[in-house]
């Protein structure tokens, strides 16, 4: 059972505040929600929307269906009214002619706000409209309004009034409970202390902290900035240093310095900003320096579409940096996986002394959903303790080892000095130019690649019958495919599904029967091509038979993929 609410208006009108109030209300009501943001690259004006998919079970994918439209501007009403489904409802800030809009509520949101005493409370009105329509327990929204506006008596007052007036209007119009959810009756906050309402960006930040991150340097860039913002707000609570660098080059070189000095470190950017870090990535490879790099993808090339989504940076992450060295690329599918994989990224980075990439995208960064309160296991470090270092008779940062991984000591923690060098170097970390020494160090880097390769996990595969066409997906596209396939496989199974979360290195996928046997490989990727299709060709010598991609920067929806994948089950 689910209902979809779209809150639309001009940038700056508070759609995100409304969505936040509503999302938390759903959380505290024991329900689930997936909120995604559709925003323009401007601060005021234009037409944005937040869409809330409210459900009694966890949801991770956008849909097109709109059951309830809350519109805060005439332009957004005009743009989005057609999207509302037959039985749906519309709440707007301007009276709409019944002829135009038979599904419109009989009252005007902005008037309620004005009556409440402050035009800006329209976002609270929007949240209250939806909460009433969903019949969520009244005390939940009341508490949330208290928490949010409690610091200013005046603000609290008008917002409380806005909620009250909205409730009355809804009751009067007979619209309360018009969309009711089975879980809607769960009252109070008791049922949900084990869940959180988190954005993708915040989940990455929390995962980083769980992974032991104590240093982040980054330069703002949509849609990555939210990670930095969240971490900066936790500076003192969690002991993490967030440095806003003057540019991305400074950021990645700061990460290298911080990591060398002993902090688990990260940066985040989008494709264009990350592009500037390419030389720095190579430095990490050369000095065998752990680092976590989040690339929050958006459509390119160049500045492209700053506030839209894409999965176009896989090959960039894979090939950034001249010379060859080990790296790992992870891509979370959901908000909760963003937490887990980011934490894991820090472990892998330090274990193998490599850069680990986390590929997210705008749709994940900016979406919010309800996740189980995560585990926070203690962090296991993979560096020498001061005591271990002190016990060594001598220390070489790049000691030759069988697996290519040398024990990492931190500077200043023992009597040994720690030397690293971006030039080719000897085991002690000093620059060399001779042939034999250079070849030995290059060979060590190749062994490190082999070590990381050998640990590559097999991706998750849902297989009904190995002979069926295999749909491959990764990142945020995967949950959309899951739902599309739930529909398509409902009668008799028509497709298998392989979901890749570690994109590099990939193991030999022939170990998966559904991959080895499949005659038709269908890749669904939010890109214009040359992503995982290229990687599969390169690593598995297997081309894809059908590519379902995207050119316009808008997220895949369940409806769209159900239709597009549905057409692909003929055997090529």
């Amino acid at each position: 059972m689910e209902f979809n609410i779209r809150i639309t208006g001009a940038a700056g009108q508070g759609m995100q505040t409304a969505a936040d109030l509503l999302g938390r209300s759903l959380l505290r009501s024991g329900l689930h929600v997936y909120v995604h943001q559709d925003i323009e690259s401007r601060i005021r004006g234009g037409i944005n929307f937040s869409q809330l998919r409210c459900s009694d079970r966890p949801v991770h994918a956008p849909v097109e269906r709109v059951d309830l439209l809350v519109s805060l501007s005439p332009e957004s009403l005009r743009a989005h009214a057609p999207a509302v489904n037959a039985g749906g409802m519309i709440f707007a800030t301007s009276a709409v002619e019944p002829a135009d809009c038979p599904r419109c509520a009989p009252f005007v949101l902005s008037e309620l706000a004005r009556k409440a005493g402050n035009d800006k409370t329209v976002s609270t009105v929007a949240a209250a409209v939806a909460a009433c329509a969903l019949d969520l327990p009244a005390e939940i929204l009341d508490t949330l309004v208290d928490e949010r506006f409690g610091s200013s008596e005046k603000l609290l007052d008008v917002n409380r009034r806005a909620v009250q007036l909205t409730r009355e209007a809804m009751l009067e119009a007979g619209l309360t409970g018009r969309l009711s959810l089975p879980g809607g009756s769960v009252s109070g906050t008791g049922a949900s202390t084990d869940r959180l309402f988190v954005s993708g960006a915040a989940s990455v930040a929390l995962g980083a902290l769980a992974g032991g991150c104590t240093f982040m340097a980054a330069y703002p860039m949509s849609p990555a900035t939210g990670i930095m913002t969240t971490l900066s707000e936790l500076t003192h609570d969690c002991g993490v240093w967030v440095e806003q660098a003057e540019d991305e080059i400074a950021a990645i070189n700061m990460v290298a310095g911080a990591s060398y000095a002993g902090a688990r470190s990260m940066t985040a950017s989008s494709g264009g900003g990350f592009a500037l870090m390419t030389e720095g990535v190579s430095l990490l490879g050369m000095i065998e320096c752990p680092a976590v790099i989040v690339i929050a993808q958006r459509p390119g090339p160049a500045t492209g579409l700053p506030t839209r989504t894409a999965q176009g940076d896989l090959r960039l992450a894979l090939n950034a940096g001249h010379g060859r060295f080990a790296r790992v690329i992870l891509a979370p599918r959901t908000v909760s996986e963003a937490y887990a994989l980011t934490a894991r990224a820090f472990d892998l980075a330090e274990r193998y002394q490599i850069p680990v990439f986390v590929l997210t995208d705008q749709i994940l960064q900016d979406c919010q959903t309800i996740i189980d309160r995560p585990d926070v296991p203690p962090v296991t470090r993979h560096v020498l303790t001061p005591e271990q270092a002190a016990a060594l008779p001598f220390y070489e940062r790049y000691a030759q080892t069988g697996d290519g991984i040398s024990p990492m000591a931190l500077p200043g923690q023992s009597r040994h000095v720690v030397c690293v060098d971006s030039d080719e170097h000897d085991p002690a970390g000093h620059l060399i130019e001779d042939a034999a020494g250079s070849a030995a160090m290059a060979a060590k880097r190749l062994r490190r690649i082999a070590t990381v390769d050998a640990a590559a996990p097999l991706p998750e595969c849902t297989s009904h019958d190995p002979a069926l066409p295999l749909v491959v997906s990764w990142g945020t596209t995967a949950p959309v495919v899951v739902e599309a396939l739930d529909a398509l496989n409902a009668g008799s199974p028509r497709f298998n599904h392989l979901q890749v979360t570690q994109l590099w290195p990939l193991p030999d996928l022939r170990a998966i029967p559904a991959f080895a046997a499949c005659s038709r490989l269908i890749l669904v990727e939010h890109s214009v091509g040359d992503g995982l299709d290229g990687v599969l060709a390169q690593t598995q010598l297997r081309g894809v038979d059908a590519f379902i991609g995207k050119l316009d920067g808008r997220p895949f929806t369940v409806e769209e993929l159900t239709a597009r994948i549905g057409k692909e089950d003929h055997h090529g």
Partner: protein, 285 residues
């Protein structure tokens, strides 16, 4: 611990500088300064990039981070933020510091992390065979500029003073006494200390020779007030052909880390995550 000697700062790496290069003076004086300050090698972190000057970190026995050309200041600031108990000294060429790395230099002055940035200013790209650096004289004929450099040279001292950099000094590689004094003072100064060291390049620069400096350099004396920003600018911008040596400017801006201190703790440990995160999670409800 046995008493420190100069030998403790000597590394076994073969020196690849040209005979007669001004870098030798800086190397020797750096080692002596570390000894004079009683800083054991393992408490010192030398950070550099790529060029002739940056090779210095291999010739000193100490922790060394030899990173990318022009990016040394970025890595150094972060390393110091994390390992606040190390003495961090950055060595750059003028090309790395003012060319490739110019932006980092600008912003490092604003940030004021407690480290010392020593620029070996030989007015040339030494390692890449004699192209113009940002401080090469206008009109000087060098590689890639057969008609002479068209651009005006950068004035790094005036630049730093104009941005209220917390310590701005100039010294000369061949004046060991003066250089040691300045290096020690810079290292002791809390905040971002910038030292431009004039360093003759005997292979590529026939203009800024030992003799040239001998003739044109003068020592700032007690009449110079390093807390007077405009006075310092007047010295840095004087067009009289004389080259000042000494501390041109200093101020008492607090260094970055103390500003941010409260509750952050040692960034090298992350054992307290479970407790700290548990509290934070409650905000997401």
């Amino acid at each position: 611990m046995a008493e420190l000697t100069l030998n403790d700062y000597k590394s076994k790496v073969e020196n690849a500088w040209c005979p007669g290069c001004g870098n030798f003076g800086i190397l020797n004086t750096l080692q002596k300064s570390l000894l004079a300050l009683g800083l054991p090698p393992e408490r010192v972190l030398l950070v550099s990039g790529i060029g002739q000057a940056p090779k210095i970190v291999h010739y000193v026995h100490a922790n060394a981070f030899d990173g990318l050309h022009g990016r040394e200041v970025s890595s150094a600031q972060a390393a110091k933020i994390v390992a606040d108990d190390l003495t961090v000294i950055v060595h750059s060429g003028d090309g790395g510091a003012y060319g490739e790395g110019g932006n980092h230099f600008l912003h490092a002055m604003r940030r004021n992390v407690d480290l010392t940035h020593v620029v070996h200013d030989n007015h040339i790209y030494g390692l890449t065979k004699g192209q113009a650096s940002p401080t090469t004289e206008q009109g000087q004929k060098v590689a890639v500029h057969p008609d002479g450099v068209a651009a005006l040279p950068m004035n790094p001292l005036a630049l730093a003073i104009s941005q209220s950099c917390s310590f701005v000094a100039q010294s000369l590689s061949s004046n060991a006494g003066h250089l040691q004094e300045i290096l020690c003072e810079a290292i002791r100064h809390p905040g971002f200390s910038f030292v431009n060291v004039l360093q003759p390049c005997v292979s590529w620069d026939p203009v800024h020779t030992y003799a040239h400096y001998q003739k044109h350099c003068y020592l700032l004396d007690a009449s110079h007030d390093p807390t007077d920003q405009l006075g310092a600018l007047a010295v840095a911008l004087a067009h009289d052909g004389r080259i000042p040596l000494g501390v041109l400017y200093r101020n008492e801006r607090p260094a970055l880390r103390p500003i941010m201190e409260s509750g952050i703790g040692d960034l090298r440990t992350c054992t307290d995550r479970p407790a700290r995160l548990a509290a934070v999670f409650n905000r997401f409800r």
